[in-house]
């Protein structure tokens, strides 16, 4: 293989700026998408543990809908199909007048996709609290809202924290699909740099490293959070690891 390595090209302008711009968009997509995913995920997850039949059914449909369609297809649907089936002015607004349509499509589409996954984890975490906790709280005279707010959600969150970390990592990595609808996030910008410099191997090594660093930062922060939030006696098996 006669490949001429040229790492210096990555530090040259404008390529360094492009990569940093890509990092900025990856972070921006991930933050908004994860915020949407958490908000909707918690709401739907809680709904899936309620006793109301109607609510249960709607929540189940929501989860299976967003979980069973590949993310790439969902993004294409949001980007290409939805603006066409909406009434003309709304569609046009989505396509043209909205600033950064690719960004918002990705952030919202990715957020909805991830919310279904998070909903399942929240449901599992709440169920993991067991019937005892909820019944005990009810016996103390707490209402449903109070039980969720003071007992089931705080305890459930602690169970869910490790898997939620994975979901945040997945959100960051899945944001790279945004390039398929023309969003120049980190992977998209890497391709752009590659197209201009033909230094693909160097560029993608750099972006891989950046992804790993971002993941490590998230993992480190969530470990810290887990330790800070730990309730003595709960999840005690972790200490033996």
């Amino acid at each position: 293989m006669n490949y001429q390595w040229q790492w210096g090209v990555l530090l040259r302008e404008p390529y360094l700026g492009w990569l940093l711009d890509g990092v900025k968009w990856t972070v921006a997509i991930s933050v908004v998408a994860f915020a949407i995913a958490m908000t909707l995920g918690i709401a739907v997850g809680v709904a899936r543990t309620l006793r109301n039949r109607q609510v249960l059914r709607v929540a189940a449909v929501y989860v299976s809908l967003f979980r069973s369609v590949p993310l790439l297809v969902q993004l294409f649907l949001w980007y290409f199909v939805v603006p066409e089936i909406l009434p003309e002015p709304f569609g046009y607004w989505l396509k043209r007048d909205l600033s950064n349509p690719e960004y918002w499509t990705t952030a919202v589409g990715l957020g909805l996709f991830m919310s279904a996954r998070i909903a399942e984890q929240i449901r599992a975490a709440i169920n993991a609290c067991g019937a005892g906790l909820g019944n005990a709280a009810r016996a103390q005279g707490m209402g449903t809202v109070q039980i969720y707010r003071h007992i089931l959600l705080p305890v459930g969150f602690r169970y869910a924290l490790p898997t939620l970390t994975s979901e945040l990592l997945n959100t960051v990595k899945n944001s790279s699909l945004a390039l398929t609808i023309g969003m120049l996030e980190l992977t998209g910008q890497s391709r752009q740099v590659e197209a201009y410099t033909f230094k693909g191997i160097e560029t993608f090594t750099a972006s891989t490293t950046i992804y790993i660093l971002m993941s490590l930062a998230v993992i480190f922060a969530s470990r810290h959070l887990e330790r800070m939030m730990a309730i003595p006696g709960m999840l005690s098996t972790r200490d033996k690891d």
Binding site: M1, N2, Y3, F80, P83, E84, Y92, K95, R96, P101, E102, L179, T180, G182, L184, G188, R191, Q192, E194, A195, Y196, F198, G200, I201
Partner: protein, 293 residues
Amino acid sequence: MRRLKSLVYCAIAGLCCSLLASTPAAAQATAPILSRIAERGQINVGYRESSVPFSYLDEQKHVAGYTIDLCNRIVDEVRKKTGKDIKVNYVPVTTANRIIQISSGAVDMECGTTTITLARLEQVEFSMPFWLTGTQIAVKKRLKVKEAEGLKGKTVAVLQGSSNERALQALSQSKGLNLKFIYVKDYAEAFLALETDRVDAIAGDGTPIAVFASSKTRHPEQIEVVGRLLTIDPYGVVFQRGDADFRVLINQVLARAFASGAAQGLLDKHFGPVNIKASTDLAALYRAQSIPE
């Protein structure tokens, strides 16, 4: 747990070793491309999925086109030279990944619509040019734009990493057009964006976008390709550097095709149905490259 960890380390170490070991071996042969093709009995030909009629998948999902037909002549010559019945393995490539596919050796030659540039020549090798076109824009007729300068403040779809993108970026900066760019994967996506009014214009190589507009869009009568050539784009077959024999073989095949009129025949076959004739520049290119035996 510990055993699992050491297993993983072993696997990683093994992978690294094999990567290191495989690198020098490939560099030794003097005609690395030809010898690896002969060794595998297979040539990996990169093609485009929607660069009609140069290189594309037809209705039956067969790889077809003008460039592909030229490349088939090259493959025939490779068969003659190696004395083996070389199989053709078509690999889809995009504007964004073609160079890396070639320079990494994953694809032996790319037969599409790649413009020869001086910068690319530092990375990969090109055959002599087999086509000549340049950056033009496709717009909806009702926009009444006749040159790229008329697109002030408008949104333009470009293929990521194409020479068209660079030409429009430069024009936008020098003339203060303030163009907004939307990056698309191929012309199919570009025309989808144009037809659904997501973009006002497409910047692309004149010939392919004219062909696409007239043959693959829903309302060809609403779209026109306009403007002077903003760049000069000669197309060449792309392959890895460092194999002089392979380069000579390709150029011999092309020169003979130009001299014998076979290239003109292929042009009529592929461009006739979409009403495109050889420009005077292209005819001159064919003549100038009809190198004698």
